[in-house]
């Protein structure tokens, strides 16, 4: 069943955002967590943002909980985080107390029995914020259509998925080599429709990029005129004046990132507390200010505003087992269809 995240309303925000303000019982538990965490040393946080930016989040957390130090270790992307947590857990070493990543990363760890579950509802989180006992929504990547403002007049910029299949974009567009946006689309369109779409998109001979950051930069540089990118990955170039625009397509695929706590962490109460804080409006805004990536369920975030009026879609994290073959299938379509892009 496709999961559509409804446009956030004030009511859902009140339920989801201020988890730490809900109910006396929840507050008491949070206070107890803070007291326990303060005596267990720094909280180690694995996450993919450059450390100088993530340290801004740590500073904001420190203002809320001055007795607890948060130390960020940057994950080098892809599957490196899961590998590191598995190795450190198997090797009996200290690993992260809390980590932030997508369902495709935390789910295999949960299956290996390496993650600690939590009763998030008792701590005030709604089911949409905490879809599994192992995860609490922290933020989300929003897939957007990018185009170069110098090469593509505004009226001609691709505004929807079908536009990318027009002949004029053949050999002129770029996509991430991971088919994540299309896997998310399959939650609404169904697997076969997306497979068919992806086949036709591959026939357009898009450039494949190992990450969405260079993709955005190459659209800005004019190497490709347009592409399927990620909103926050385009922000660094846009903020520095690059000729780059983004449009949120309809439907809008997103990829949620969750906080989760490895069992081999030594300050798991601190990890849980930080996860909860990230899910509050204060935490979400601090995180978004540092990274450009926000929580779509917290109305005050730019990300929620970006998605307002759009149908945001993604796979359920607990359906990860069924999603993995889909990723494999779509990756193969994107990698194998067509020959090398034309040279001009």
């Amino acid at each position: 069943m496709p999961e559509e995240i409804a446009v956030p309303t004030r009511r859902t925000m009140l339920l989801a955002a201020p988890a730490l303000l809900l109910g006396r019982s929840a507050r008491a538990q949070v206070d107890a967590l803070a007291t326990e965490a303060a005596g267990l040393g720094p909280v180690i946080w694995y996450e993919s943002t450059p450390s100088d930016l993530a340290n801004q989040v740590a500073a904001a957390f420190g203002r809320r909980y001055p007795r607890i130090a948060l130390r960020h270790v940057r994950d080098s992307g892809g599957n490196a985080m899961s590998a590191r947590i598995i190795q450190e857990s198997q090797g009996g070493a200290r690993t992260a107390d809390v980590a932030t990543n997508s369902a495709s990363v935390f789910w295999p760890l949960a299956q290996r029995g390496l993650l600690e579950g939590a009763d998030w509802a008792a701590l005030g989180a709604t089911p949409s914020m905490a879809p599994t006992p192992y995860s609490l929504l922290a933020t989300a990547s929003v897939f957007v259509l990018l185009s170069n403002t110098k090469l593509v007049p505004e009226a001609e910029a691709p505004a929807g998925w079908d536009a990318l299949l027009e002949p004029r974009w053949r050999g002129r567009i770029g996509v991430w080599q991971r088919t994540e946006p299309f896997v998310s689309l399959a939650a609404l369109w169904g697997p076969e429709r997306v497979a068919d779409y992806l086949g036709r998109l591959s026939a357009q001979l898009p450039f494949l990029f190992p990450s969405t950051f260079p993709l955005a930069q190459q659209v800005a540089a004019g190497e490709v005129a347009a592409g399927v990118g990620i909103y926050h990955a385009a922000l660094p170039a846009i903020s520095r004046g690059a000729p780059l625009r983004y449009l949120v397509p309809e439907p809008a695929p997103i990829s949620s990132l969750y906080s989760f706590m490895p069992k081999a962490g030594r300050n798991r109460p601190g990890g849980k507390l930080f996860s909860l804080w990230l899910a509050t409006e204060e935490g979400a805004l601090a995180y978004e200010a540092a990274t450009g990536r926000g929580n779509p369920l917290i109305a005050a975030t730019r990300t929620a505003q970006l998605l307002a009026g759009h149908t945001s879609v993604e796979q359920k994290p607990e359906d990860a087992d069924a999603t993995l073959p889909l990723i494999e299938r779509y990756d193969a379509i994107l990698r194998q269809t067509g020959q090398a892009a034309p040279s001009k």
């Binding site: 450059p50 450390s51 100088d52 930016l53 270790v73 940057r74 080098s76 892809g78 599957n79 490196a80 899961s82 590998a83 590191r84 598995i86 190795q87 450190e88 198997q90 090797g91 070493a93 997508s102 495709s104 990363v105 935390f106 789910w107 295999p108 770029g174 080599q177 991971r178 450039f207 494949l208 990029f209 190992p210 990450s211 950051f213 260079p214 955005a216 930069q217 190459q218 800005a220 540089a221 004019g222 190497e223 990955a233 385009a234 922000l235 660094p236 170039a237 520095r240 004046g241 690059a242 993995l324 494999e328 990756d331 194998q336 067509g338 020959q339 090398a340 892009a341 040279s343 001009k344």
Partner: protein, 563 residues
């Protein structure tokens, strides 16, 4: 037990710990269903998944074509450059010698991006200039083609080739060439019939090294091949490690593929030994005194100078200019007159104001100095025992020291994590700069043994025999005879490892923690955070740092010689 054997045994044990144990873990992962060495169970499914995959033959074919082409480009250009710089009266040879190493300091991914700025059919400035100037309808260069990939990778390997061949060139007795010239041979014939055959051990060593490096390298195929679906084995390895759909790296498949790389490495090693088995034929440094005299190029002097200069413009000036250009731009934009209005020093200011720079720079310098010294010492010892002392089991020592090159650096890092987590109470290096030093020393040992071994083959045994006849101990002979003669090779190894350690990224990323950040990881933070122009600024400072280290080492070396 003789001293030789005792040293060989101790070295063998050290190499077993440094190389065999990590390799064993890599191979163990190949037979684990979960792909991690400590996972339960055994399987052969990883081998089947790799070698019986429908696209594997085509992937292997493209990879071999890429590796062979890159090796050929590097060998041809590198040999000619090393010969011209070291053996002839080429004008400006000292400057060329200093400049040749500069591209090595730049992270390859930045060089590859630089080449897209230069030779992309769409935005490449070279294409635009040529099209505008010559009125061409189509772009003459396509950096995304297989030829483009081979060209860029080949160019990136030329500095290493020159470093590997330069000591051998320097050690050649000029009387061979002089005799041939006096007998009426042309300079080209001298090069073909005298120089190249005498350089065979060094060229064969360089060829083996470049071939394996080209098989496992990711930066150029990842930047230039992947966008247009031109896959090689290393892009497949990247997919398994970073992008596998399961959310967990498929180390089992990487381990299974490493078996193929190891087999190719062993085959190349056997070919190398076969090519150099008549060691006596390559001994150019004997007891007869000679003074290194440059061969006069005569009328070819300025044409050769023009060719060498053209190489430096293409391989050094153009990519480094693009690097500098990028570092002065607010975002990625190809060089053009219109973009001059965007020039800014913000990236450099930002880099220098970054609070992490001092710590990262200190870590990088310590790591590079220790790793370079360790590799030079270990590789020198291995080469001495294998080539000069011919100790029993020398082939095993040689194979152990060469083997790490066949395993992607990330997998060595994975294995080291397990080793040093297990030995944490005794050797608490996990999470420190020292595990990075160990990773680099393991990764770069093959280069050192190839280079120094190739140089030692050139030494005639009569030199050491003369020492023995005079009553000198083996240690004294090593110190007074052998070491000074292989000093250029040791120095080249040291410089090469220093430059590579300063820019190395993949292992540093895998092994990073709070207190062991390096300059390349800082660079990567910018790059992966969508700020390639800030990454370029770090690249510029890295090049300057290597240039400074190079000048300093030359200064120290010259003072030592004077003393």
């Amino acid at each position: 037990m003789t001293l030789d054997r005792a040293v060989a045994l101790a070295l063998g044990l050290l190499l077993c710990w440094m190389v065999a144990a990590p390799l064993g873990l890599v191979l163990l992962s190949a037979v684990r269903p979960g792909g991690f060495p400590l996972d339960p169970g055994f399987t052969t499914a990883n081998f089947a998944a790799v070698y019986l995959a429908p696209g594997f033959p085509e992937l292997l074919g493209t990879t071999l074509a890429f590796a062979a082409g890159s090796t050929a480009v590097a060998l041809v250009l590198g040999t000619l450059l090393a010969w011209a710089i070291e053996r002839t009266d080429l004008p400006g040879a000292a400057l060329f010698r200093a400049l040749v190493i500069l591209p090595m300091a730049t992270p390859p991914v930045l060089l590859a991006i630089g080449w897209t700025m230069l030779a992309s059919p769409r935005i490449g400035v070279l294409n635009r200039v040529l099209q505008d100037t010559l009125g061409l309808s189509a772009a003459p260069f396509d950096v995304f083609s297989l030829g483009g990939m081979v060209f860029v990778e080949g160019l990136s390997l030329v500095p290493t080739t020159v470093l590997m061949l330069a000591p051998a060139c320097r050690n050649m007795d000029p009387s061979f060439e002089e005799a041939a010239l006096a007998s009426g041979a042309s300079r080209l014939r001298v090069l073909r019939r005298i120089v190249l055959p005498l350089l065979l051990p060094a060229i064969a060593a360089a060829a083996c090294f470049m071939m394996i490096v080209s098989l496992v390298v990711f930066d150029v195929p990842g930047t230039l091949g992947l966008p247009v679906r031109r896959f090689v084995l290393s892009t497949q390895v990247f997919h398994w490690i970073s992008e596998s759909p399961g959310g967990v790296p498929e180390y089992g498949k990487v381990g299974a593929l490493a078996v193929l790389f190891l087999a190719i490495l062993l085959a190349l090693g056997a070919l190398y030994r076969r090519a150099t088995r008549r060691a006596a034929a390559f001994r150019t440094v004997g007891g007869k005194a000679f003074r290194a005299r440059p061969m006069p190029l005569g009328t070819l002097r300025w044409p050769v100078f023009t060719c060498v200069s053209a190489y430096f413009v293409v391989a050094v000036v153009l990519p480094l200019s693009v690097l500098v250009w990028s570092s002065l731009m607010p975002y990625q934009v190809a060089p053009s007159r219109a973009a001059l209005a965007l020039l800014t020093l913000e990236n450099h200011r930002d880099f220098l104001a970054n609070g992490q720079v001092a710590e990262a720079a200190w870590n990088s310098v310590v790591i590079a100095l220790v790793a370079a010294t360790a590799v030079a010492a270990l590789a020198g010892l291995v080469a001495w025992l294998v080539v000069r002392r011919r100790v029993p089991g020398g082939a095993v020592l040689d194979a152990l020291a060469f083997a790490p090159i066949a395993v992607p650096g990330v997998m060595i890092g994975v294995a080291l994590i397990y080793l040093y987590l297990a030995t944490g109470p005794i050797l608490p290096v996990y999470g420190t700069i020292w595990i990075i030093v160990i990773a680099y020393a393991t990764q770069y040992l093959p280069f050192g043994t190839r280079l120094i071994g190739g140089s030692m083959i050139q030494l005639h045994p009569e030199l050491e025999e003369a020492g023995r006849t005079s009553g000198a101990s083996e240690a004294r002979i090593l110190r007074r005879v052998t070491l000074p003669l292989v000093a250029p090779a040791l120095a080249a190894t040291w410089v090469w490892v220093l430059a590579h350690a300063l820019r190395e990224l993949s292992s540093a990323l895998l092994l990073r923690s709070f207190d062991n950040m390096t300059v390349p990881t800082l660079l990567w933070d910018y790059w992966s955070g969508g700020e390639p122009t800030r990454a370029a600024a770090v690249g510029v400072w890295l090049v300057l740092a290597v240039l400074g280290a190079l000048l300093l080492s030359r200064l120290v070396g010259r003072r030592a010689v004077d003393a």
